[in-house]
Symmetry: C2
Subunit: 148 residues, 2 copies
């Protein structure tokens, strides 16, 4: 074998972790809460992941990065890869709504960048005159996540 756990039979949890950037603990946690399906086990009960599993994990971290809570991802992940999105109009609507949120996020982040540029060039940061409220929609936040 050349890379960690890659031997045509599939990826080890370590390999999956390296490929996705998600820690092993977190992958197990995702399985525990049912975000990922229970992984196949080898005779020794070690988890084995397929290419598809890895892609699913990547999709999770993708969605996570747009501020989607883990709970909300479930429907998208369940549907993943097999059937056609257009067969689930409700889900389709949800994702369009989510897309809208992301676009709003983008617009608002852009506003803040503009704000920074203005304030920085004007010198003082906490100016009041017409701090346009930076109308953000999402309540997006950073989390503990001190991933080693």
């Amino acid at each position: 074998m050349s890379e960690a756990g890659v031997m045509t039979t599939g990826y080890s949890i370590k390999a999956a972790s390296e490929l996705t950037g998600i820690t092993e603990d977190t992958i197990r946690y995702y399985e525990k809460i049912g975000l990922l399906p229970r992984a196949q086990r080898k005779e020794n009960s070690h988890r084995v992941y397929t290419e598809g599993d890895v892609e699913l994990m990547k999709l999770i971290s993708c969605l996570k990065k747009t501020g989607m809570p883990l709970d909300e991802m479930r429907p998208y992940l369940n549907l993943s890869r097999d059937s056609n999105l257009s067969e689930y109009p409700e889900l389709y609507d949800k994702i369009q709504i989510h897309k809208r949120k992301i676009l709003d996020q983008i617009a608002s982040l852009q506003q803040i960048v503009d704000f920074i540029d203005t304030k920085v060039s004007e010198g003082n940061f906490g100016e009041r005159k017409r701090n346009e409220d930076c109308t953000l929609t999402g309540d997006v936040k950073r989390m503990p996540v001190r991933n080693k």
Copy 2:
């Protein structure tokens, strides 16, 4: 008085909450953790906020929306309104770094929107072919925040 707590003497916590969209509890919490300076009190020990205080709160929710943790905001808030940013090269650098992060966030969010558009029009969502890893930087997430 016409609006809640507005009587030229300043804003009540309720008024400030309404103006900023931050709950009263959260405003007190911010004061508790020293993110906001201890508010002036009236004889009856009720908090009174100035226009400037309110703007400071708005700035907090602004920054929060860009994914900045409360702890990281302190330096910006302390400096707020009085002195010139360019006098604090270290802080200036920090905010430029933060700006960079926001721009990366924007780029990545844009990627995800593109991803959604492609996948949605192609039908299936969890496709693998060249799901370009949606190289997000920030680990931005949504939080509990079920604000009333």
